[in-house]
Subunit: 469 residues, 2 copies
Amino acid sequence: MKNDSTDRIAADLRTWIASAPPGAQLPSNRSLMAKYGASPVTVQKAVRSLAASGLVDSRPGAGTFVRTVRTSRPVDYGWQTAALGTLSSRFTSLSATQRTAAPDAIGLHSGYPAPELLPERLVRAALVRASRTSTALTRSPAAGLPELQGWFANELADATPAGVTPPTARDVTVLSGSQSGLSSIFRAVIGPGQPLLVESPTYWGAILAAAQAGVQLVPIPAGPKGPDPVDLARAFDQTGARAFYAQPTYANPTGTQWPVERALAVLATVRRHGAFLIEDDWAHDLAIDTEPHPVAAHDEDGHVLYLRSLTKSVSPALRIAAVIARGPVRDRILADRAAESMYVSGLLQAAALDVVTQPGWRTHLRGFRRQLRARRDLLTNALREHVPDAHIERPPLGGLHLWARLPDGTDVEQLARNCETRGVIIAPGNEWFPAEPSGPYIRLNYSGPDPDRFNEAARIIGETLKENH
Amino acid sequence: MKNDSTDRIAADLRTWIASAPPGAQLPSNRSLMAKYGASPVTVQKAVRSLAASGLVDSRPGAGTFVRTVRTSRPVDYGWQTAALGTLSSRFTSLSATQRTAAPDAIGLHSGYPAPELLPERLVRAALVRASRTSTALTRSPAAGLPELQGWFANELADATPAGVTPPTARDVTVLSGSQSGLSSIFRAVIGPGQPLLVESPTYWGAILAAAQAGVQLVPIPAGPKGPDPVDLARAFDQTGARAFYAQPTYANPTGTQWPVERALAVLATVRRHGAFLIEDDWAHDLAIDTEPHPVAAHDEDGHVLYLRSLTKSVSPALRIAAVIARGPVRDRILADRAAESMYVSGLLQAAALDVVTQPGWRTHLRGFRRQLRARRDLLTNALREHVPDAHIERPPLGGLHLWARLPDGTDVEQLARNCETRGVIIAPGNEWFPAEPSGPYIRLNYSGPDPDRFNEAARIIGETLKENH
């Protein structure tokens, strides 16, 4: 299966080309060979395939360049200014985590694990099998394939203590990624102009979805053991909010996990206020030092809207998640999903279900955990050595990222730009704050490519930080 | 490849089970054998697989029943009533077109072609190939895979007359189905409370997406040759609307295509009002009597937002569409898509691109056209014979549906319910009207399963119509 290095190089380059300016020069064949450990023939084949599809021009002796698009004449779109009006949201550009890094850069900014950490064999085999079933040619029901609904319900039911009514397949709505679930919940359950309590810092994608839905965020400090129930109760009382969004398990960006007693106290506070807890269990499969304990497993009466994603652990191309919601709120969410996109590809659902029900899945998760631990420790040590001024308050218990505080006064946006010119892409922490950042933070992904370059990356960050100061 | 009839039967039954009440009885093995032309062994295997996954219980001698879910105790979700407040949208249930028909019913309600009309071999082979590439394990750029962007841009550029600046790959945003594009355009370009002109009748999915976005619809009569530019200009003037949504090519539900001179007149009207034409080219591959002529090909300066979908012609499981938009409006749409769902599965994009670039694709489209023509004529003739009171004003030039007017005073909702009890599922026309229906219409899909049962279906509709009157 692994004779696709030409494909992989070509795909990486195409992704880079997508955001490169016309005329930009590609890395030399020599540097591509070094980067991918590939032969000259492999690299040449990859570059030729790009030329064949019209993406690049190779000029012998000079190099390979992103093709300049021919337009007949420039067009003035000024009239659109009046039709569109002013912007209502501060989000007009992509997040730093979505940047496509140059092929020879060290990318520590992304929110995804490198492909070599994913269950490649299981994913490819599942896709081949799914492509032979009827799911390849038919529409899926709006709420998802019943078997996959059942799998999500069973997983949570297995964590549900005796005496608590477990969820059923009907409570599950399958999503194409949890971002869609956040968008639907914020639109259909909270609504424009309404308040929503969130941890601070918290996942930038949730902040983005809230801005899109016009929801007013109310930050709650994300303490070392999760939010303080007293803070939470006060915010519910003061704002009249009817929901709290949080990542109780390996929060992005901090890697914190709420202890069980804290989780129960938060749930009791939410319940007392007749509110919802939107539990974003994004890192359920990304445990390192502990086990995940969904708060939703303790939910008696539909107070938790539980989001569970497979995107980061199965494959970013499978893009399958689910929301488990009980009571009328489930119908609200499902109606919004149906209006937004009708249904989720049944083929992707069948493939995802295939992966997570293979015996190899458990084995994969064990190996994934070992790899995440080794990489987390490697990057932590590299930072300690080369960036002594970076402070990691608590090592993350799971997830994909280190969350490091830099000395007060550091301009993290400037630092990120300067690091990028030296070939290291980092994510400035400001995006994770719903309001002003509480300090200068950066987020570093230890599950990306090139762990053998973590030392080099840390050295460059350390040197750049010194120059900036 | 075609030894999957067990899979198909099981999949159909699962889809049905998803919306069946617990305890409902499955059709007998004998009727499943007749319906699918399958052997007893095949049917038994399908039913056993459902029992194995816990969906049904087989009781020897009695039959097979949808499994009753065990709950520990009933839960009262009444508290959610206060948290959720009242509903803001009239859309709380699924469209009639999304209904899952019982396995032995004749379904004429859906908006999709039957799997046997799809390029099955191309789709399955493309999925297998895509599953071996890096797209199976990586994230796609937010705007889509560059090659697929290029394909969409090229298709429209090929239809663009000399002298008009053609679109480029950068103008293309790939979508997971055109419904997502409608939602994003209505949210990001129109906005809540703002007016949007639409043809009447028009696609129910657009009406639904507009309701979800809080957009105010302003109906324009969809004349026999498309909307009258005078009506359109008046509505622009009176409402201050900045956009007009339409399906100029084989409109859903009427099957009308705007003649080229009408298309140019509408575009000129839109341009004069500094507005956008949202051109939903849903049926580009569903031509029967004519060729598609996208209005967007005549767009000089970013007035047309062009939606092109592959869902109906490649596969409902591939779920790939694109919006081509030029100027700053493209950035608005892309930012909304990124906030809503980050990106579209690159694997589905790669597979869709593979299908439409195979030599077999053109052959498939020619065969598809022949089949659509034969089925359209078959159902039209069956209606003429058995439902003489149904009036089809103009035979559709393309698309998947007949749009038939019934005698004044017919209660089409009641008719649909009565037909369903006799095993024929039809779509009452009311869903296609943005305001009150202009008459009692029904929509019938001639591309669904079982053309050999069209006569039987028409007979039942005719008899039921007589009883209702």
